[in-house]
């Protein structure tokens, strides 16, 4: 029996409804349990001495004074940890040519970015460890710094890792059709230079790990704020020489991840190595400055791109030359080539065109490593694509909505393969655009804009269509040799009281995974969501799985939960049919009761079935299967990714005297397939939009020419805050993926993917009558005034 999604009045209809979040009360009451809330017997704390230089030779390390600090127990150098921890190399076979040198948990004889761990001080308290760290004397010899991305490959630039030969980490060129020929003859060619600002994820809870190596059991337990517990299990086992089965990763409450917590960090592996040496629980909690210097950065791209259109505004070609710099090492194990690779995969995504060239050049530099952050590569690709489309429309005197309608894939064109070789199963660009136009009342907004302009007030409307990659298959990481599971599993069991426990390999980062799982399992089995307890984040308990990344929790983890819940339902009904001497097909489970499927008449509560199975199994027919626990796994197989689509719009006002942008309103219509929980999806979209708006207007990590990070605090690195956020209107179109019964695709990154481009286009719409244009994010007041030519130096 399949779920009748089309019938909102079906029994147990929790999928598609907003249900209470099972963990909300705990979190709101301050009873969450984060890593830093855990205290173990004999636990010690580690603080790291970090490189103050972007590139320096480590000549000597003097720890004598630090050892004398009260509470300091031991001090470790990179060489000390190398004895128990092997280095890693972050490359993937399918990213051809990607190279990166071996990286140790702490610098060995050379530091390569400001913030790289050099010495670890272990003490009875974090404060004492910091007191000790302040007294460690490291003698450095500064080396030449590679800071600038665009000159990193110049012959005159020093090579950061001589054994690598040059500063090129990865390069990919994709070409389809006759790009040069089209650009030579096209009706109109528009080009632009884009820059996206280096920024980071800024989680409320910083990176946190507590590792407990117990030599008596030969077991390592890591309490870890992570998105991928099983991946971390493999990494710790591999590099610390512990059998994988003897590493247990427990991930309790996590205060936000956004991709930051899906990577392997040297200081976290160092913490595990220290625990193994000291045979004591060791805790490391990053402070805010450490977060800014050591959490992965992202989005540091510079792009030269052009578009060719014909006289009707039909897009003929895109040509994109993308550059990004990733710091000193590719980040383990997902690598730092993915973001540039995504730019190549995603540019031009919504549009039906034939000729495409995109190249990404990924270089090493002496800065904090970059890696995957929410909506990896999407905000960059969407900004390039939608920026160029708007510029082309303006050149042709065409409305920006009209040019998009003329070029978006028709809603009945699917399946289709894009010029970037992305395969789309089913998208809804036109339906989404129609819905957006209705929600924003586009014509009325244009009238308001004109009226404001007559008063000397400069408002702009920006549109950004986008595609988003979700539900990844092994084609994302596994194919390249990484032990990162694209499959996920769920175990569902019924206990004697008729309550349900669901254990899932996907994880809760604060985004509502457990709520989503609870309602799927509730519907799948036929119980109230409040009667489902969800357990995630424990490698010793849950089925093996990938965790939370690439918008896979609902689409992959949710489908596994649905299938296991349906299997449990069938098991329960098989027992019930025997007990009730009825045909199994005539029975159903509703609200925790076995009922007659036609009339809904209650036949037996689940707790009675539980009582019989667990305590009076002797009364059941001999040989009757009575497995009230079922596990199912799910992996996508038809498509490498389930693409989603959507369109965003921004309405804003530019103060042309100060350059300050005021966001007036923001809209997003997106299609994530089947919506499991409307409120959670809307909040994912809103939160994603906020992070996209951060990239558009506020967030930027600054370095000087010597690779010194200049803004490592919440006062200097500007995250988007409520005061500047506009009202947001979120709408949906639902095109379920046919790959799964649930039909859900991901929703976690759509907001971030499209918001920066919508804002850029809106600012440029406001500035266009003044002859100005901005393409460098974030769009600071100063950049806007400079575009207007208002500032004299």
């Amino acid at each position: 029996m399949t779920v009748q999604f089309g019938n909102p009045d079906r029994p147990n209809s929790y999928i598609g409804k907003t249900v209470p979040r099972p963990n909300a009360g705990r979190l709101v009451e301050g009873r969450g349990k984060y890593v830093d809330d855990i205290t173990l017997p004999r636990m010690v704390h580690v603080a790291f001495v970090r490189s103050p230089f972007a590139h320096a030779k480590i000549l000597s390390i003097d720890t004598e004074d630090a050892k004398s600090v009260k509470g300091v127990l031991r001090i470790f150098t990179g060489a000390d940890l190398a004895k128990v921890c092997t280095p890693w190399v972050a490359v993937l076979e399918h990213l051809k040519g990607l190279k990166s040198p071996p990286e140790h948990p702490m610098a060995m004889d050379r530091s390569c970015w400001v913030g790289e761990p050099v010495v670890a001080v272990v003490a009875t308290s974090r404060a004492a460890a910091e007191d000790g760290a302040a007294l460690v004397d490291v003698d450095y010899e500064p080396l030449p710094v590679v800071a600038d991305m665009m000159t990193a490959l110049d012959a005159s630039t020093p090579v950061l890792h001589p054994e690598m030969g040059d500063n090129l980490a990865f390069q990919r060129l994709h070409e389809e059709g006759d790009v040069d020929g089209v650009f030579a003859t096209a009706h109109k060619v528009v080009s632009a230079h884009f820059k996206t600002g280096r920024h980071t994820g800024v989680t409320l809870e910083p990176r946190s790990i507590l590792v407990d190596w117990n030599p008596a059991e030969g077991q390592m337990t890591a309490y870890h704020a992570t998105q991928a517990p099983h991946m971390v299990q493999t990494v710790l086992a591999t590099h610390l020489d512990v059998p994988e089965s003897r590493v247990r990763v427990i991930c309790g409450d996590v205060g936000g991840s956004y991709g930051i917590k899906v990577h392997v960090y040297p200081d976290e592996v160092a913490t595990a190595a220290i625990s193994k040496i000291m045979a004591r629980p060791v805790k490391f909690i990053a402070d805010r400055l450490e977060s800014f210097t050591t959490d992965i950065h992202a989005r540091d791209h510079e792009i030269e791109a052009k578009i060719a259109v014909d006289a009707n505004g039909k897009i003929l070609a895109f040509d994109v030359d993308d550059w990004t710099a990733i710091g000193a090492y590719s980040v383990y194990p997902r690598t730092s080539a993915i973001e540039g690779n995504q730019v190549v995969n995603l540019c031009g995504g919504p549009y039906d065109f034939a000729n495409y060239r995109a190249k990404t050049t990924v270089v090493f530099q002496n800065k904090t490593p970059t890696c995957q952050y929410r909506a990896v590569g999407h905000p960059i690709a969407v900004a390039i694509t939608e920026g160029l489309v708007d510029m082309a429309a303006a050149e042709m005197g065409m409305d920006p909505v009209e040019i998009r309608r003329r070029n978006m894939y028709a809603d009945d064109a699917y399946p289709v393969t894009s010029p970037a070789n992305m395969r789309f199963e089913g998208l809804s660009h036109h339906q989404s655009m129609d819905k957006l136009m209705g929600l924003m009342d586009y014509d009325a907004l244009r009238a308001d804009q004109a009226e404001a302009r007559a008063r000397g007030v400069h408002r702009g409307i920006g549109i950004a269509s986008f595609i988003e990659l979700t539900n990844p298959s092994p084609f994302m990481y596994g194919i390249g040799g990484a032990r990162i599971s694209a499959q996920d599993g769920c175990t569902v069991r019924m206990d004697p009281d008729g309550s349900i426990v669901a254990m899932s390999g996907v994880t809760e980062q604060g985004q509502g995974t457990e709520a989503m799982l609870s309602q799927i399992v509730a519907e799948g089995v036929g119980v109230l969501p409040s009667n489902v307890r969800v357990i995630t984040g424990d490698t010793q308990v849950t089925p093996y799985g990938g965790g939370t990344w690439a918008s896979r929790g609902a689409g992959i983890g949710g489908e596994a939960a649905l299938r296991s819940a349906r299997a449990l339902r069938d098991s329960i009904l098989e027992v019930a049919a025997a007990m009730l001497q009825s045909d199994q097909a005539s029975l159903d489970i509703r609200d925790g009761h076995v009922v007659d499927i036609e009339t809904g008449a209650e036949r037996m509560p689940l707790e009675e079935l539980g009582r019989i199975v667990y305590f009076r199994g002797d009364t059941l027919p001999k040989g009757l299967p009575r497995e009230l626990v079922q596990t199912r796994h799910y992996i996508t197989s038809e498509y490498p990714f389930a693409f989603t689509n959507g369109v965003q719009a921004s309405y804003l006002e530019v103060d042309i005297e100060t350059g300050v942008v005021t966001l007036l309103k923001h809209w997003c219509v997106e299609d994530c397939g089947r919506i499991i929980n409307p409120q959670l999806v809307d909040e994912q979209i809103r939160g994603g939009i906020v992070q996209g708006l951060g990239g558009a207007l506020f967030e930027e990590i600054h370095y000087d020419d010597e690779g010194q990070l200049l803004n490592g605090s919440m006062a200097d690195y500007l995250v988007p805050m409520a005061g500047e956020m506009p009202d947001m209107v979120v709408g949906h179109v639902e095109t379920p993926t046919k790959e799964s019964e649930l039909g859900a695709k991901g929703a976690g990154e759509a907001g971030t993917a499209g918001a920066p481009a919508a804002v850029m286009n809106a600012i440029n719409d406001a500035l266009r009558p003044l002859g100005a244009q901005v393409t460098q994010m974030p769009f600071t007041p100063e950049r806007i005034l400079r575009a207007l030519g208002a500032i004299e130096d």
Binding site: A127, E657, S713, A715, T780, I791
Partner: protein, 277 residues
């Protein structure tokens, strides 16, 4: 990071506080609202401080009408300044400034004395004191002394308060009947330190213009004041841009700040004359 304080003592009264400061061997730090000091300690930008907590010393909070002037206790919190009827009536610049200062949680604990003693050139209250021509009252082992605002702010985070002294009160002249007081600023986000801020006070004796975030201290723009006294707004804008030498940082360049200072002056003049909302 974890703070590394040298010690902590709560003062029972003002003389006790001054006694504690004298005993702290140059490491004494007065703790009032703690909204800047504790943050600095938590980043170990300041270590070994002997904290002298004056937050419960009585008589240092509140606003008194002294006839020609208002006397504001140093422990008066930002939120109280913003809502106080005497301030709103007689020193509206200070009340207006409060809405630009940080966020509610900080305004609930931060004190005006703390903000002035901290002397952050990007903060609103120090610039307001210059524009209003305030007098600061400082207690030490030898009793009370006073300092004009012009002489009080010496350098970045440095004032004329000595190691063994405590800022206890501020007096500001009450606004004349037709006096106008205006604060204009540009910040990246609500509550952020201003990229540039400007206070304009128009009273019978002439205009006073002070700026925040353009130098190592809040400053008076004396040339612009002279021009404005002569009714020359364009001249004042030009003079202002010429007489300031603002810093560049990650938020904005000196050129941007210089340009915006002029824009803010025009806006302040328009607001002062009532033709700008």
């Amino acid at each position: 990071m974890k703070a590394s304080a040298g010690g902590y003592a709560r003062a029972n009264n003002l003389s006790h506080a001054i006694e504690l400061l004298a005993l702290s061997d140059g490491m004494g730090r007065v703790l009032a609202g703690g909204q800047s000091l504790i943050a600095a300690m938590n980043m170990r930008l300041s270590t070994g401080d002997m904290l002298v907590d004056i937050s419960r010393v009585s008589g240092l909070s509140g606003v008194i009408d002294e006839g020609e002037t208002l006397r504001i206790g140093a422990l008066t919190k930002h939120v109280e300044i913003g809502a106080h009827p005497l301030i709103r009536a007689h020193a509206p610049l200070l009340a207006d400034a409060v809405s630009f200062i940080a966020h509610a949680a900080i305004r609930n604990r931060g004190t005006i004395g703390g903000a002035l003693a901290h002397a952050d050139p990007a903060a609103e209250f120090p610039a307001c004191m210059l524009a209003l021509g305030a007098t600061l009252h400082i207690h030490g082992p030898d009793g009370e002394r006073s300092a004009a605002a012009e002489d009080f702010f010496e350098d970045l985070f440095e004032t004329s308060i000595k190691e063994d002294e405590i800022l206890t009160a501020i007096t500001v002249p009450k606004a004349e009947a037709d006096e106008r007081q205006v604060l204009q600023e540009v910040a990246r986000r609500s509550g952020d330190y201003a990229l540039v801020g400007l206070c304009l006070v128009a009273r019978s004796s002439g205009h006073r213009i002070s700026l925040l975030s353009v130098a190592s201290t809040p400053i008076l723009a004396r040339n612009a004041m002279t021009q404005l006294d002569q009714g020359n707004v364009d001249g004042a804008v030009a003079a202002l841009r010429a007489e300031i030498d603002p810093p560049s940082d990650t938020q904005a360049s000196a050129s941007y700040r210089r340009h915006i200072a002029g824009i803010l002056l025009r806006r302040a003049v328009a607001q002062e004359k009532g033709d700008f909302a």
